[in-house]
Amino acid sequence: MQKSLVNINALSKVYDSGHQALNAVDLEIREGEILALLGPNGAGKTTLISIICGLVSATGGSVSVAGHDIVTEYRFTRNLIGLVPQELTLGAFDTVWNTVNFSRGLFGKKANPAYLEQLLKDLSLWDKKDSELRELSGGMKRRVLIAKALSHEPRILFLDEPTAGVDVELRKDMWKMVRRLNDSGVTIILTTHYIEEAEEIADRVGIINDGELLLVDDKQCLMQKLGKKTLRIELKQAIDRIPDALGAYNLEPSEDGSQLTYTYDPDVERTGITALLQSLNEVGISLKDLQTSESSLEEIFVRLVNSR
């Protein structure tokens, strides 16, 4: 069992406009994990992160980081945290080198050129260190933001929508980078509305909608708990109705009767597939093709959001 690093208790936020962005969220973030907060736009992901980092004040509840309260002991907690914001918010005329040094200084750390050099090299930014920020491409700006967030050697990194509006290749680069950081011991919390992203890199996934945390679970457990597999059977000849002998299998016929779909739980001892195939054979239905598929997080997510 991993140690818990961030504890969020009944956290609520109502903006001045009256909008309830967070509603009594409880969440525990474990040391060394990659946690993905998944939810549609406006679900409250950014608000949650902003409160932990000190950009927004909560209207209820509390957060502690490594046992220290984020409001009364902000100096301690903020030292442990790095934040990569969603927007590419960078000055225009600073150089890459100056801006990472500035960030490090803001967090009260003594200058350490060797560390920052290695950091920029790791992020493939070293040859751009003297470039002005406005000269950089979007992908590079994103990396500069990450370098700034890591400049003070934080233990926790928040990435707010790190791959929003980023092309496929850059996205894969980003995932690699996140994994590498995680391997070096940094706890990572990222928000995303791409299910693929959560599925790809997270250890645990939390699903947020309308300011409420619907569930948090290990990605594998989540998939198992909610993930059913389906077997699609293509028939040589279409059938009008399902023979009574097959009634127990709850098969769903396609409209034209040329396909049958069987849903099963892949984690139980007997999936029933062998029996089904035997029964099909017995009633004289011959098969053309078989295909299995797994429900993705996307389907799980849609099911969860719709069921409320």
């Binding site: 100096r75 918010t89 000055g91 005329f93 100056n98 200084g105």
Partner: protein, 254 residues
């Protein structure tokens, strides 16, 4: 524990920003001051009689220094905080382990330092045009420093308050410039009709210029003690305002 490192980087960053816009920060006030000297000091001034025993060209020096000091302190400090707010980079300062006091010291300290340097340059420039004797150098420096800090603070408040560029320019343009011109930069209040003399007493800038002028020539519209008290009062009001803004997270934190 104070995050000295953070104050240092903010201060350095702001000073560096001035370095990048050196022409705008230093050259433009120096040029405009020189123009004032040519027009008011040499051309018109030669036809104006002495005021309180001081020749007109010399008389306007303290007012001119104050004019630049006030506008530059305000614009330096307001831009310094408005830009990060405007382009979003303020997130970093807000998420860093820095107290509000440290943020203010960094930004306002840098803006005040720049104005102080500027004031010195303008005095040196003035000395090229006229012979300046400073009767009370320490009092003069005290006025310079207090004015730089107070108005840098005031500029910081404007920068926090402003939500767009128009608002950022509004107060310096519509309030400060008229107050400075009507506060006796170019004349002695005693030259005004009695009614306007009374009205002028409500202009806070009058006290600044009067006190500052006293440190040069020992002539003043109001007593130097009152001047000092007024600038301290203004500083106090700005401090309270800034304190309130940060306490409530005004325009910075939702």
């Amino acid at each position: 524990m104070i995050n000295l490192q953070a104050i240092k980087v903010i201060y350095k960053y702001e000073m560096l920003r001035a370095w990048h816009t050196l022409l705008q920060t230093i050259a433009s006030p120096v040029i405009s001051t020189s123009l004032y000297f040519v027009v008011f000091g040499a051309a018109i001034g030669s036809r104006i009689e002495e005021i309180d025993g001081v020749s007109y060209g010399v008389f306007i020096v303290p007012g001119l220094v104050m004019l630049s000091l006030l506008t530059q302190s305000i614009s330096n400090a307001s831009f310094g905080i408005f830009f990060p707010k405007f382009n979003g980079t303020i997130y970093e300062v807000m998420s860093a382990p820095i107290s509000f006091v440290e943020i203010v010291v960094g930004y306002v300290g840098a803006a005040a330092s720049k104005s102080l340097i500027l004031g010195t340059i303008i005095l040196i420039t003035a000395n090229l045009f006229v012979d300046l004797d400073i009767a009370h150098p320490f009092v003069m420096v005290l006025f310079l420093v207090l004015t730089c800090i107070s108005f840098a603070l005031f500029g910081f408040i404007i920068g926090l308050w402003a939500t767009n560029f128009e608002k950022l320019q509004l107060i310096p343009m519509l309030v400060i410039t008229p107050l400075v011109f009507l506060g006796g930069s170019f004349y002695s209040v005693s030259m005004l009709p009695p009614v306007w003399q009374t009205v002028t007493l409500f202009n806070p800038v009058l006290y600044l210029i009067s006190g500052f002028r006293w440190s040069f020539f020992e002539v003043a519209d109001v007593s130097v003690g009152v001047s000092l008290a007024m600038i301290c009062l203004f500083l106090g009001v700005c401090l309270v305002l800034v304190w309130w803004m940060f306490k409530t997270g005004y325009r910075l934190k939702q």
